[in-house]
C-alpha cells in the first residue's frame, strides 16, 4: 500500500464472550504500537466510536451470538467489513456460551434473578436485549473469512493473522486452522 493511500481500517468487537480474546490481542504488548502505525483502529473496546463505521478492512469478532443485540450488531459488522475474522473458540464453536443451549435461557435467568437474589425478584427486561433460544457460532449467522482457534488464541497467533490479513495474504492468516 503506497504512502498516499489511507491506512487500512481495523476494528474489533466482542459479543457473548469473556474478553479473553481481546486481552490476548493486547498481549501483543509493544507490537500494539507498531500495529496502530500500520492500521487505524476505528472501533473496539479501546476507542470511543459509538457506531460501527463504514468501510472497515478487517474486523476481529470475539464471542458467540447470544442475544438479539449480538445478532443485530454482527449483521452491521459483516455488511461494513471486508475481511471478517472469527476470533477464538466462542466465536467458532460457541464454547462456553453454548453450554446453556441444552436448557435454554429461561432456567439461566431464573437461577440468577429468581433463586439467587434476596429482593425484588424478577427477570430484568426493561430496555434489555433478550437472549436467543440458543447461542450460535458467528459463521452460522454471517460468512466468515478467517478462523483463529483457541481459548484464547495466543497473542502471537493473533498478531500473525492480523499482519497476514493486512498484507493481503489471506491464506497465511491462520494456516493451522482447517475445516472440512
Amino acid at each position: 500500500m503506497s504512502a498516499q493511500q489511507a491506512k487500512p481500517r481495523l476494528a474489533t468487537i466482542w459479543l457473548d464472550g469473556c474478553s479473553g480474546c481481546h486481552m490476548s490481542f493486547l498481549d501483543i504488548d509493544e507490537r500494539l504500537l507498531d500495529l496502530v502505525g500500520r492500521a487505524d483502529l476505528v472501533y473496539g473496546a479501546l476507542v470511543d466510536a459509538k457506531e460501527f463505521p463504514e468501510g472497515v478492512d478487517v474486523t476481529l469478532v470475539e464471542g458467540a451470538v447470544g442475544s438479539a443485540e449480538d445478532l443485530r450488531r454482527l449483521l452491521i459488522v459483516r455488511e461494513r467489513t471486508r475481511t471478517l475474522v472469527s476470533l477464538g473458540d466462542c466465536a467458532i464453536t460457541t464454547n462456553v456460551p453454548g453450554m446453556r443451549n441444552s436448557f435454554g435461557p429461561g432456567p439461566a435467568l431464573e437461577r440468577a434473578y429468581l433463586q439467587n437474589a434476596t429482593l425484588n425478584l424478577q427477570v430484568p427486561k426493561v430496555g434489555l436485549p433478550p437472549l436467543l433460544p440458543e447461542s450460535l457460532p458467528v459463521h452460522a449467522c454471517v460468512p466468515v473469512d478467517v478462523y483463529i482457534t483457541g481459548c484464547p488464541p495466543s497473542a502471537d497467533r493473533i498478531f500473525q493473522a492480523i499482519s497476514a490479513v493486512l498484507d493481503g495474504r489471506l491464506d497465511e492468516a491462520a494456516p493451522e486452522t482447517k475445516f472440512g
Binding site: M23, L33, D40, E69, R100, L109, P124
Partner: protein, 475 residues
C-alpha cells in the same frame, strides 16, 4: 420529561448503556446504568464435576480470570476438605497480585489515561491509547510494559497468560522453578520504576482534575474489603471489614464465607447487573463500595514501605476516608506499588520453590465458599455438590455488583452537573462515561456476561417518551 441514552459506553469492560431522565425544567432527575448482557454461569456450572470448576469459572472473565480461579479453587478446597500446602497458598497469592497489577494497568493506562492526559473534552477520534502514544509515548509504553509485567508473571507461573489451568482444587498443579522465579524477580525493578513515575505524574496533575474529582461519585457510603489480622489490606485471604467513612467498623475481621448474613442481592428491572447491599442497613441505604478506593479506606495500612509512604500522602491530601470515586485512579496506582513490592517479597523467600504444592482428596463436604479480592473488589464463589462431586447449585457475588448502587448514584451526580436539557455536549457525555471508568467495572464478571460495554444515553421525557438517543459517530 425526556431521556438521554448513551450507547455504547466505551472504554469500559463490557456491554452497557446509560439512561438519563430529564424533567420538564431540563434538569436530570434520575439515571440508570444498564448492563445489557447476560451469560448464566450460575446455571451453566450445574452438572459439571467440581474439579472442573476453576477452569470453567475463569472463563467468566478474560480480564480477571485469575481472580475467579482463586475464589473458585478456595470454594473447591472447602469441598475437598483439604489444607492447601503453605507454598501453594503463597504461589496463588503471587498470581493474584500479578493479576491485580495487569488489570490496574489496563484500567489506568489503556482505558482512562486518554481522559486524564488528553482531556475529557478532547476529540473522541483520538481520545484513546493511540492518541496517548502520540502525545506522551512514555506513558503509553509504560502502560503496555506494566500490563506485560503482570501477564508475564501469570504465564511464568501458570504456563499461559489468560485462563491458565494451574490453580486447582487443593493448591496449584506445579511448583515454581528457580529460573522462572529469577526471571520474575529480574522484571521487578522496571515495574517499580513505572509505578513510581506514573504516580508522580498523576500527583503533579491532580489539581487539573479538581472539578471532576469533586463531582465523580462524591458522597458518603460504606466501604468493604478484606484485611489481615494486623488491619493491613488482604487480597487472597483475611477477614471482612466494613467501615462507614467516619471511622466506625460495622464489621471487622469477620469470616467472609457466610456472606448471606450481611449481603443481599437486589434485582432492578432495567439491568442484568444485580445490586448488592449491606443487609443491616437495607436497600438502597446499604450502599457500599469495593475495589481500590474502598480497600484503602478499609485497611489501616498496606504493609510495604513505599506503598505506605504513598498512602500517607494520599490521606494527607484527601483525608482519611476519601469519598469521591474519582480517587479510584490514585488508589489503583498506590495498589500497584504495593502489589509489586509484595510479589518481590513473596518470591524472595527461598521456600517459595518448595515442591509440596497440592493436596489431593475426594469430595468430603457438600458446600464451599471461596472469597478473594479481585482487582475491582471482593469476590465470592459459593458451590453445592452431591456425593459424587457433581455441582448442584452455584451463586456468584461479583465485585462490580457491589458497586452497582454507587455507580448509578455517581452517574446521576455527574449528569446533574453537566447535562442540562437535551442540548448535551460530547464532553459532558464522556464525563458520564468516565465516572463509570473510574470504578473499572467488569461487566463480563458482573452478570457473568461480558461485552465491550457499549454505552447509549436515552433522554426520556416526563411521560416516559423517548426524546433523544445520543451516540457518537465513528470515523
Amino acid at each position: 420529561m425526556s431521556e438521554i441514552v448513551i450507547e455504547p459506553v466505551t472504554r469500559i469492560e463490557g456491554h452497557a448503556k446509560i439512561t438519563l431522565f430529564v424533567g420538564a425544567d431540563g434538569e436530570v432527575t434520575d439515571a440508570h446504568f444498564h448492563v445489557t448482557q447476560f451469560r448464566g454461569f450460575e446455571r451453566i456450572a450445574q452438572g459439571r464435576p467440581v474439579h472442573e470448576m476453576p477452569s470453567l469459572m475463569a472463563r467468566i472473565c478474560g480480564i480477571c480470570p485469575v481472580s475467579h480461579l482463586i475464589a473458585s479453587a478456595k470454594a473447591c478446597d472447602e469441598i475437598l476438605g483439604v489444607a492447601v500446602p503453605p507454598v501453594a497458598v503463597r504461589l496463588r497469592r503471587v498470581m493474584n497480585l500479578a493479576q491485580i497489577v495487569q488489570s490496574h494497568a489496563l484500567s489506568f493506562f489503556h482505558l482512562s489515561s486518554p481522559d486524564l492526559l488528553l482531556g475529557f473534552d478532547h476529540d473522541p477520534a483520538s481520545r484513546n491509547i493511540v492518541g496517548v502514544a502520540a502525545q506522551a509515548p512514555q506513558l503509553a509504553r509504560d502502560g503496555i510494559a506494566l500490563r506485560r509485567f503482570g501477564q508475564e508473571i501469570i504465564e511464568r507461573l501458570g504456563g499461559k497468560r489468560i485462563h491458565p489451568a494451574w490453580v486447582v482444587p487443593g493448591g496449584v498443579s506445579a511448583p515454581l522453578s528457580e529460573p522462572q522465579r529469577d526471571a520474575i524477580l529480574a522484571s521487578v525493578p522496571e515495574a517499580r520504576k513505572i509505578a513510581a513515575r506514573t504516580l508522580e505524574w498523576y500527583k503533579e496533575n491532580l489539581a487539573s482534575w479538581a472539578e471532576e474529582a469533586a463531582l465523580f461519585g462524591s458522597f458518603p457510603s460504606l466501604y468493604m474489603g478484606l484485611v489481615h489480622e494486623t488491619g493491613n489490606v488482604a487480597y487472597s485471604d483475611g477477614g471482612l471489614r466494613v467501615v462507614d467513612g467516619r471511622g466506625a467498623h460495622l464489621l471487622d475481621g469477620v469470616d467472609p464465607r457466610p456472606y448471606w448474613d450481611f449481603l443481599g442481592e437486589a434485582v432492578e428491572p432495567w439491568s442484568y447487573l444485580k445490586s448488592t447491599y449491606f443487609k443491616p442497613l437495607g436497600y438502597p441505604e446499604g450502599m457500599y463500595r469495593v475495589g481500590p478506593l474502598a480497600r484503602l479506606n478499609v485497611a489501616d495500612q498496606l504493609g510495604t514501605e513505599d506503598a505506605d509512604v504513598e498512602l500517607a500522602e494520599y490521606r494527607l491530601r484527601l483525608g482519611r476516608f476519601p469519598n469521591s470515586s474519582f480517587h479510584y485512579h490514585w488508589a489503583r496506582l498506590i495498589e500497584v506499588v504495593h502489589c509489586v513490592a509484595m510479589i518481590e517479597a513473596l518470591l524472595s523467600d527461598p521456600d517459595i520453590l518448595g515442591d509440596d504444592v497440592r493436596s489431593r482428596a475426594a469430595v468430603n463436604r457438600s458446600e464451599g465458599v471461596g472469597v478473594s479480592e479481585a482487582p475491582r473488589g471482593t469476590l465470592f464463589h459459593h458451590y453445592r455438590v452431591d456425593d459424587n462431586g457433581i455441582v448442584q447449585w452455584v451463586n456468584l457475588v461479583i465485585a462490580t455488583g457491589h458497586n452497582s448502587l454507587a455507580m448509578n448514584r455517581s452517574v446521576l451526580q455527574v449528569a446533574r452537573h453537566y447535562v442540562k436539557g437535551d442540548e448535551v455536549k460530547e464532553g459532558a457525555l464522556n464525563r458520564v462515561e468516565a465516572v463509570i471508568r473510574a470504578y473499572d467495572p467488569c461487566l463480563s464478571c458482573s452478570t457473568h456476561a461480558v461485552g465491550q460495554m457499549p454505552l447509549q444515553i436515552d433522554i426520556v421525557g416526563p411521560e416516559g417518551q423517548l426524546l433523544r438517543q445520543l451516540s457518537r459517530g465513528a470515523g
